[in-house]
């Protein structure tokens, strides 16, 4: 079992930590270097965490659990107008990213209004490509409970809704969780209650993902997504030239590879593992809706009959 962890510290000698994690059989998911500081998000075998903790102490860094690592979360706003951006949408997305998630902000074309709000099939499919959708809605209960569920229709992934009033989640059809005190505001969220509300939103998303991971462990994937990521990085050198953030974005059940589908999908399908299987045998490789990137969905054990 691998534990998602975030290391924050100085750049100096951070390669010692990277090597240790790789030696332990863990995976480095993301490294962000900001001048002299570095943030590393990684998966470490649970039994060996104390070794990583010791190394962190030696390097004077800080280790925290990052429950959202290896997930792609859609932050959905009724539109991308100044009514919703940069506050509160970017603030919430930032909090999700701090816990290791990769967020994509999605503004609906016609998500505004009460009676008139709607979501298109394309937008629905785009949101369904993620692990969790966080809908950032407004200040009025009537609007959230009566009108906005229209834009939650057809979403097959777990949905977290945020808004200003306190609402029981049972009252919102099709929502899996609701977080209050996060309504439509026009200032940066930095006061205590606002920060707590954002922390709560992150916790709620974390709980949902833990539940999903639990479900997944009953019928595990036939290969772990981080391993596929490593193989892609080793076998497709072009991935190193991709400038998008996180060229291989991990998801719970697969990943998004930020290479053009038409040009690269054959090579991705033929990625080989030492066990003698090819990626096309153990995963569905599809064209994603986001910029024609490649979407990999790993098959569960029940489908292939083996785990590598």
């Amino acid at each position: 079992m691998l534990e998602p962890i975030m290391y924050e510290g100085g750049v100096y000698k951070h390669n010692h930590l990277v090597e240790l994690v790789e030696d332990l059989g863990g995976y480095i998911l993301q490294t962000n270097i900001m001048q002299t500081e570095i943030v590393i998000i990684m998966l470490v075998p649970m039994n060996d965490i104390h070794l990583v903790e010791n190394m962190t102490k030696k390097l004077l860094g800080v280790l925290t659990r990052a429950p959202l690592s290896g997930t792609e979360i859609a932050v959905v706003a009724p539109t991308l107008a100044y009514h919703h951006l940069p506050h509160p949408d970017c603030d919430i997305a930032e909090f999700l990213r701090r816990k290791g998630a990769k967020t994509n902000m999605i503004g609906l074309a016609r998500g505004v209004g009460a009676r008139v709000c709607q979501i298109s099939g394309h937008e629905r499919s785009l949101i369904n490509e993620h692990d969790v959708a966080v809908y950032i809605l407004g200040n009025f209960k009537h609007c959230i409970v009566e009108n906005k569920p229209k834009i939650l229709e057809g979403i097959e992934i777990p949905v977290v809704v945020t808004g200003a009033p306190e609402i029981d989640v049972e009252e919102i059809p099709m929502a899996d969780a609701y977080v209050g005190n996060l309504g439509r505001i026009a200032h940066r969220m930095r006061k205590g209650p606002e920060m707590w509300a954002m922390d709560e939103a992150v916790d709620v998303v974390g709980e949902i993902l833990d539940k999903e991971r639990n479900e997944l462990s009953k019928d595990p994937l036939c290969v772990m997504p981080p391993r596929v990521k490593k193989e892609i990085e080793d076998q497709i050198p072009e991935i190193a030239d991709v400038l998008s953030p996180l060229p291989v974005t991990l998801k719970l059940k697969g990943m998004r590879v930020k290479l053009d589908y038409d040009e690269f999908h054959k090579r991705i399908e033929n990625i080989s593992f030492v066990e003698g299987v090819k990626l096309k045998d153990i995963a569905y490789i599809k064209k994603g809706l986001l910029k024609d990137y490649i979407l990999i969905e790993i098959k569960p054990k029940s489908e292939t009959g083996f785990v590598i």
Binding site: P78, H83, R115, V116, H142, A164, R184, H187
Partner: protein, 202 residues
């Protein structure tokens, strides 16, 4: 005491009203309109749905004319020109734009920092015109900012709008359905209360 409150938001939902109060404060301070609007009243009914915004305005700054910051005279005897001796430099860009538009770039001589010479055969009449020329209209800028604030405050989906913008007040009714007369009447009654209250206090 309620009539002395600067911003009051009325709605069936208390939380929604409180948050909207904060949105209005944020937007008005972002656009530096805090001192332009004296009192603000908003009414929101999400069931209808309708959003009503009424604000009482303070009297704004007068327009800036050329004679406010420059001495305008005819040129020396025998010369077809008007001289503008600038006492303040802050309005030069707006002034030059207006002069170029009216007389053409070739007829404007700005070789000295604080002196502009306008070559025109009608210098006799143009002197008076130039003295009264409006260079900077503060009120137009403030009106633009008020409209910007309105669009930021009202819910985004409410695209059917009715508004009145006068020197005394701002009135906005917005909804996603055609505006009903009863909503307008409600807005007018809020406006009348504010305008009357404002006069009583004065």
């Amino acid at each position: 005491m309620e009539e002395y409150e600067k911003i009051i938001v009325e709605s069936d939902e208390e939380t929604g009203a409180d948050v909207y109060n904060r949105v209005i404060i944020d937007v008005l301070s972002d656009l530096a309109l805090g001192r332009v609007l004296e009192k603000v009243r908003a009414y929101i009914d999400v069931k209808e749905p309708v959003f009503i915004f009424v604000a009482l305005r303070r009297f704004g700054l007068p327009s800036i004319r050329l004679s406010d910051f420059a001495e305008v005279d005819m040129g020396d005897y025998g010369k077809n020109e008007v001289t503008i001796n600038l006492l303040k430099e802050s309005y030069i860009p707006q002034l030059l734009n207006k002069l170029w538009e009216r007389y053409g770039k070739g007829n404007i001589d700005h070789s000295e920092r604080s002196m502009i010479i306008v070559h025109t055969p009608d210098y006799f009449t143009e002197v008076d015109f130039l003295r009264e020329m409006v260079i900077d209209e503060k009120i137009a800028q403030i009106n633009d900012r008020i409209m910007d604030a309105m669009l930021r405050i009202i819910p985004e989906g409410f695209r059917v709008r009715y508004h009145q913008l006068t020197e005394e007040y701002v009135l906005f009714v917005a909804s996603e359905d055609p505006i009903k007369q009863e909503w307008k009447d409600k807005a007018f009654s809020i406006r009348n209360g504010l305008v009357k209250g404002g006069k009583d206090n004065a």
